[in-house]
Symmetry: D3
Subunit: 68 residues, 6 copies
Amino acid sequence: MKLSARNVLKGTVLEVKKGQTTAHVKLELSPGVVVTASITNEAVDDLALKVGDQASAIVKSSDVIIGK
Amino acid sequence: MKLSARNVLKGTVLEVKKGQTTAHVKLELSPGVVVTASITNEAVDDLALKVGDQASAIVKSSDVIIGK
Amino acid sequence: MKLSARNVLKGTVLEVKKGQTTAHVKLELSPGVVVTASITNEAVDDLALKVGDQASAIVKSSDVIIGK
Amino acid sequence: MKLSARNVLKGTVLEVKKGQTTAHVKLELSPGVVVTASITNEAVDDLALKVGDQASAIVKSSDVIIGK
Amino acid sequence: MKLSARNVLKGTVLEVKKGQTTAHVKLELSPGVVVTASITNEAVDDLALKVGDQASAIVKSSDVIIGK
Amino acid sequence: MKLSARNVLKGTVLEVKKGQTTAHVKLELSPGVVVTASITNEAVDDLALKVGDQASAIVKSSDVIIGK
């Protein structure tokens, strides 16, 4: 499946930390460039996400703020 | 100002393309890792954004989808 | 690719209307149940989206408001 | 109150699952078409949401990604 | 209709500026406290939004970033 | 750092309530005008957020729905 989202950033899963219903996942895009995602625990299970996996961080361009 | 958003990714502005009211800005985080943001033209002017600027892409972790 | 987003709703493209940089796409999930998406014109071209296509509307559960 | 959001999708509440602070609500729009929302527990109480209620899933068109 | 969104902020419409497909609406919540919304032109027409109207700015709490 | 987000609303922290991983923060913009934000507990710690602090609620204009 191809996505309309302009940002599909490939990386390696660094960390998966489950809370009660929400999990925090860290993905390294390149050395030192890390993206954090909050997803449901259910999604972690569905994707069988674990440290070392190849995965993508997907973000709509309208959800990005620029700071300068 | 420090932000609650978990993702404040530093990069260099590669492209600024203004539309009628919305602009698309590309920021290179590391060689080949590029993030696109849709922001208002007004914001481009306020920040005086131009190619080569050092800037940050700010994204709340709840706005990131993981794909695998 | 499998997604962490809880909502991946399959449907048929009813309408694709391009603006200057942003397009509005209508997707029918079932008779009378229609979802509208605002995506970039660039995404419409990348996906070669046209009326009659099978496609999915993807929404993070944290982006859904409930009204009653 | 009328809303600017382009997607106000009517349905029936299938499930309400409270976590510590966040609840997951499933709404059936038509047979087999189900939307999941993450809302605060506080909101579940305010709306007195329960299985079988008629309710709406509200989504801004800029929060919808198209996949094909 | 009651909403799960934690922020339903009442105000007065200060400005409605239509673009080609997207409009920018400014709402004054209290003297000097102004919120800007980007909505579709279609929504402006549906709500018959005009300067001086009483209206509300609705924002999910998960879409708010805190800066300090 | 200057931000592209159109809404940077200054206020005073009224309440900080931590959950297991997510915190709810209430910010008073003017007497009676209160914004609620859901942020990570980690962010509360990073910003050392506490009642009485001067802080800002930051919202992209594309995340605001208008109701009338």
